[in-house]
């Protein structure tokens, strides 16, 4: 029998969400895929519960949530590495109680008929242990290590604490990577029906926006991609948006309906609210694929069952303000980086709530340029885990020391081109060869062709460029138009901002 040391390392990609988590592996054909747990779910509820003598996690914890809410721990991921003081005002109501354990955030539960305090880090370890076991059951072999995704807003302390929790679960942490970078990597290395996905341009220079609408927040990252190197230019995190905000709308709607029908007000009934929120999440998901969806809760309050229905149009009207808020955050994120929607090459949709059809169509409208790709080829909940699995397989060829040396800030911190570098053609137009935000040093090769048959020399001038702002350009276009046709219903698509030559760097003759 092969010993653990001479067998190949088995690395899984993990993303732990506030509500759901996923485990990804790279299959034999080089594609990423997620593993289902023992209950057949690939989106595994991020929950831990104590029931009598048993510890339950994931789907098993979720099914007993309503009957054992006070011993069920939910929404704990963001509390890792934080103090009780930082967490107390945002703790979930209706499930296990958040308490102070020597300053740390912890939960009070009843286990084996005794009151027990478990810290958030211990909860994470229990949960990650169960993910590891699910992966091992599926793969039929021990899992040795993991690459784990973390939100961009995690502090160093949170990352450290999560790393410790994972290691205590018996998993070596090869690397923690940012969620949006994992998503971008998944799209770069991913294949769909045998076809490589990305073919932007020769050097694959792009500006991507990663929109992650999870359960608890909206996270927008603006990222420059230069020949397979990623640089996050900026991130925006809004903890009030996310799938739960839509659940809240639906819960309010149905609570009102229940009140109208029964005169019972559940606004202050914690238990009823937990039940209703649980039910409307399914209603919301159903509305993403069906035009109407039911909402049913057994014994919602005072022993009375609730049955309701809602159609998609109604939901979309109710959610209109929320859609607008989401779009506002996206456009703020662009503005912070001095970017217009038309300069974005790709928008990558991440997070389960990005499945809402109306939101997708509004995002499409916002990125009006038809050349902007809206990427949703992969399951939005899984794509981050795929990226982790890909990174894990890249790292599995390297020794620990090399990995640790590489991810050191002395290596990652590097100068980036402030302005594009390019040449000027015979019409004095700037042609970008190396775009701004390219990490240095950089090497690129170009072939210049002669235009006369016996030409022996080519003269080129190398310039640094600056962005010309879009507005001026548009005005010129409109002015031209006015002369030609009056009141024509021409729809003008905004153009990408163009570069103009700014500073002559060098002249040279190529022979």
């Amino acid at each position: 029998m092969p010993s653990a040391t001479d067998s190949k390392p088995v690395i899984i990609g993990l993303r732990i969400g506030q509500s759901y988590s996923s485990i990804a592996i790279i299959n034999k054909d080089g594609r990423a895929g997620c593993i289902a747990n023992e209950d057949g779910e690939r989106q595994i509820p991020t929950m831990v519960a104590f029931s009598g003598e048993e510890e339950l996690t994931g789907t098993q914890a979720r099914v007993q949530l309503l009957s054992n809410a006070k011993n069920t721990i939910t929404q704990f991921r963001n509390f890792i590495g934080k103090s009780y003081e930082e967490c107390k005002s945002i703790a979930n109501i209706g499930t296990a109680q958040l308490v102070d354990k020597d300053g740390q955030a912890a939960y009070k539960v009843e286990f084996k008929e005794e009151e027990t305090i478990v810290t958030v880090q211990e909860v994470c370890t229990k949960y990650i242990t169960s993910l590891k076991e699910s992966a091992e059951n599926f793969l039929g072999q021990p899992v040795t290590g993991t690459v784990l995704a973390v939100p961009t807003y995690f502090t160093e302390q949170q990352k450290n604490s999560l790393k410790i929790a994972t290691e205590k679960a018996g998993l070596k942490v090869l690397q923690l990577i940012n969620e949006p970078s994992a998503a971008a990597l998944a799209y770069e290395l991913g294949y769909i029906s045998g076809q490589k996905l990305m073919t932007a341009n020769e050097y694959d220079d792009r500006v991507d926006v990663i929109v992650d609408l999870g359960s608890d927040s909206l996270d927008v990252s603006v990222m420059s991609v230069r020949s397979g190197m990623y640089t996050i230019l900026g991130t925006t995190h809004d903890p009030d948006l996310g799938g739960a905000a839509f659940d809240e709308l639906l819960a309010k709607h149905f609570a009102n309906e229940f009140k109208r029908k029964t005169k019972i007000d559940i606004t202050d009934n914690k238990r009823a609210l937990v039940k209703l929120r649980n039910a409307v999440e399914i209603t919301k998901k159903t509305l993403s694929s069906n035009s109407t969806a039911p909402c049913s809760v057994e014994s919602l309050a005072e022993g009375i069952d609730f049955h309701g229905n809602i159609n998609r149009t109604r939901f979309e009207i109710m959610a209109n303000k929320l859609f607008s808020k989401n779009l506002e955050i996206i456009s703020e994120a662009l503005k912070k980086n001095d970017l217009e929607p038309q300069s974005i090459d790709e928008v990558i949709l991440v997070g389960g709530a990005s499945r809402i059809p109306k939101l997708q169509s509004k995002i499409r409208e916002m990125f009006v340029n038809p050349s902007t790709l809206i990427r949703q080829d992969f399951e939005p909940e899984e794509v981050v885990a795929y990226g982790c699995a890909f990174q894990g397989s890249l790292l599995s060829n390297f020794a620990d020391k090399i990995i640790n040396d590489s991810i050191n800030t002395s290596i990652t911190s590097t100068p980036h081109l402030l302005k594009s570098i390019g040449i000027v053609n015979d019409k004095q137009e700037f042609i970008t060869l190396i775009p701004e935000n390219t990490p240095l040093p950089v090497r690129r090769k170009f072939t210049f062709t002669n235009y006369l048959e016996n030409q022996k020399e080519i003269y080129i001038t190398v310039w640094e460029g600056i962005h010309q702002h879009q507005e001026e350009e548009k005005k010129v276009e409109e002015g031209k138009n006015d002369e030609k046709d009056e009141g024509g219903e021409d729809i003008k698509l905004p153009q990408r901002p163009i570069n103009i030559p700014d500073k002559l760097l060098a002249e040279m003759v190529l022979k």
């Binding site: 190197m229 590489s406 990652t412 015979d426 090769k445 210049f448 760097l505 003759v509």
Partner: protein
């Protein structure tokens, strides 16, 4: 390698025969940012930096 498709101008009259290049100024100072430590291109970048290698030394 990238193929460029446009017409380039001829050397100006001031250009002396046999001259190969004129450097006018350097590029603007770069902004220090963090590259994300993911993907194979990053690993190649890290290897060059750790070994203090240039691109061409790295090719060998």
């Amino acid at each position: 390698m990238s193929q460029t498709q446009f017409v380039l101008s001829v050397p100006p009259p001031s250009w002396t025969d046999g001259e190969e290049f004129r450097i006018h100024c350097g590029i603007s100072d770069g902004l220090i940012r963090n590259v994300e430590p993911v993907g194979s291109q990053f690993l190649a970048h890290a290897r060059r930096k750790l070994n203090n290698h240039s691109f061409s030394e790295d090719d060998r």
